[in-house]
């Protein structure tokens, strides 16, 4: 008889659903993030940008405008852009005119950028202000460079900085010192506030949500294998039911870790996320926590349906309290333990949920060594 372990029987029988539940969180995360990305793209204000000037300053300004996350910038010919504006396909049109670079260097501020808008250009005032502020930044920087150079001349200093050097230094300084950065703090709040930009939808959070649900569907074997009518069979086997269950737990955990490796590749190559070693260990800890949790709950439950419902409820609870789907700042400020209690929070903040791991390990040990009646 082939020496395939007994633990593989259920896996062989249910391999299709196992693969489905292993891959579902990855596929659904990609689907949600891509869909959300498309929706977010569609919600950007469409504008056209015509760059007539070929100077570095004009190119830099165009790039700065394109970086704005609220704008969907299209490079078009002027005629084409105006036609689209008439058709209301664009909110407004901006032209960086010929001689922009020269004018900035000469500190001439008139007629640098030309703008067109229609009666339906609802975002025009805000966009024009944004673009003008960027141009103003160039002009100010240029003016400052001129003043510095003049000072060098006036005082006959030996060091001569050229214009480009001063501009680059200024940009570097701005980035380094975060000159335009503003942060808010509250009366009773102490320490540095978290300055990370708020994300409406985080791919790790979405993955965590689907992974929690999938774990409950993956670990339903525990309920199937521990059905009361079968318990008596385990009295007359060389391996106890608990040993069998622990081996099954190991086997399914291995499969889930393999699916997590795949998830990391997908995060990196499909969702363009940065995957570092500092994320891999928290992810592994999250997986171990989740598997133990799903396994130990299955020990308690007898009905599959109730177990699945609990899985969905737990997924919602842990992701929401972990501040994953909707950032619950007010909640976490008031009750910090709410976030600490959620292993999803640990995943988001790339920490190890030590409390959860220790508790679940102790519960597993208690279940394994627990005495009981002869039938156990």
């Amino acid at each position: 008889m082939n020496r395939q372990p007994a633990q593989l029987f259920r896996l062989k029988k249910e391999w299709k659903s196992v693969i489905c539940w292993l891959l579902a969180p990855i596929i659904l995360t990609v689907f949600v993030m891509k869909t959300f990305g498309i929706l977010q793209g569609e919600s950007r204000v469409p504008i056209a940008l015509i760059v007539e000037d070929s100077s570095i300053l004009a190119t830099q300004l165009a790039e700065e405008i394109e970086k704005n996350e609220m704008l969907s910038v299209r490079r078009l010919e002027l005629d084409d852009a105006l036609h689209k504006l008439k058709q209301h396909e664009l909110d407004s049109v901006f032209v960086i005119r010929e001689g922009y670079g020269e004018s900035v260097l000469a500190n001439r501020r008139y007629g640098l950028i030309e703008a067109y808008f229609s009666n339906r250009s609802f975002a025009y005032p805000a966009i024009s202000e944004t673009i003008m502020s960027l141009a103003q930044q160039d002009i100010s920087r240029s003016k400052a460079a001129g003043v510095i150079q003049q000072l060098f001349l006036d005082y006959g200093m030996e060091d001569q900085w050229d214009y480009e050097e001063i501009i680059q230094k200024s940009i570097e300084k701005q980035r380094k010192e975060s000159l335009l950065h503003t942060s808010f703090s509250y009366g009773k709040q102490t320490g540095q506030p978290d300055e990370k930009p708020m994300e409406l939808l985080n791919s790790r959070a979405v993955w965590a949500f689907f992974t929690i649900i999938a774990a409950f569907f993956l670990f339903d074997w525990m309920i199937k294998e521990s059905r009361p009518s079968m318990q008596v069979r385990w009295l007359y086997t060389s391996t106890s039911f608990k040993s069998h269950a622990i081996r099954m737990l190991g086997l399914y955990s291995l499969l889930t870790v393999l699916s997590d490796v795949l998830a990391l590749f997908v995060f990196h190559f499909v969702l363009q996320e940065t995957v570092t070693l500092s994320f891999i260990f928290p992810m592994l800890a999250f997986r171990v926590t989740l598997n133990l949790f799903a396994f130990l709950l299955a020990v308690v439950y007898r009905q599959l349906f109730m177990y699945y419902i609990t899985g969905i409820a737990v997924a919602l609870l842990l992701t929401v309290t972990g501040g994953a789907i909707v950032p619950l700042d007010a909640l976490s400020r008031r009750w910090e333990w709410v976030e600490i209690l959620s292993p999803v929070r640990s995943l988001m903040t790339t920490t190890i949920p030590i409390g959860w791991l220790v508790l679940l390990m102790l519960l597993l040990a208690a279940w394994m060594v627990k005495g009981g009646k002869r039938i156990a």
Binding site: M230, V232, L235, H244
Partner: protein
């Protein structure tokens, strides 16, 4: 040899079994009859090490149950009243699954022959599609995988047709006669008891079964 001496079982201040004593030898098939709730299944579960007695002593082949019941399980086969098989697996998968977990290694042919000996031929069929009789046969076949010397059957033929009953009865007779297994068997079917068992014990207060078997000329002894 199975020796049961003064076994009692109390549950919630109620005496389920009162001072049960009997013996069984190799190659014997012993019937156990009694009304519902008389304690037949309780006695079988105690003998199967699935339940502890409140008092009394049990020995199998000279070894006391109290000393190492886990060791004794290797030579005890218990066929519960409820069908304990994986409904979602095929007959083959059920047999192979429990063979993996058994103390005794069996080849695929041996596993299959075990089923064929009982006329269980649907080797590749999923259990949920089998008739009640076939499921009962599989229930019995799994219990025999580790080749026990004491076989305890709790109403193994309840709810199945006469043909399957006869096939199971013949198979049990064969096991006792050729392989010297001790078989303790509970049933409400007097024809089955009459045809298969060498001796019969009655359990419980009701004298119905005693008189019924005496009418049929079967020697019956009261246990508890």
């Amino acid at each position: 040899m199975l020796e049961v001496t003064g076994v009692q079982k109390r549950y919630k201040r109620k005496n389920i079994l009162k001072d049960v004593s009997f013996q069984m030898k190799e190659g014997e098939i012993v019937g156990l009859v009694g009304e519902n709730g008389a304690g037949k299944s309780t006695l079988l579960q105690i003998l199967a090490t699935a339940m502890e007695p409140s008092a009394g002593e049990l020995r199998l082949n000279g070894k006391r149950y109290e000393d190492d019941f886990k060791q004794l399980r290797q030579i005890i086969g218990y066929v519960p009243q409820d069908i304990s098989v994986w409904e979602e697996y095929t007959v083959e998968e059920n047999m192979r699954f429990f063979e993996k977990l058994s103390w005794k290694r069996r080849t695929p042919e041996e596993c299959r022959n075990l089923c064929l000996d009982m006329q269980l031929t649907q080797w590749k069929e999923p259990v949920h599609s089998l008739s009640g009789g076939m499921k009962r046969k599989l229930n019995l076949a799994i219990s025999l995988l580790h080749d026990p010397i004491l076989l305890l059957l709790d109403e193994p033929t309840v709810g199945i047709d006469l043909k399957s009953k006869t096939e199971i009865g013949n198979y049990l007779l064969n096991l006792a006669r050729k392989e010297g297994k001790m078989i303790l068997y509970t049933s409400h079917d007097m024809d089955e008891i009459t045809n298969v068992c060498d001796r019969v014990y009655s359990i419980g207060e009701d004298p119905f079964y005693l008189s019924l078997l005496k009418e049929r000329g079967i020697g019956v002894e009261r246990l508890s």
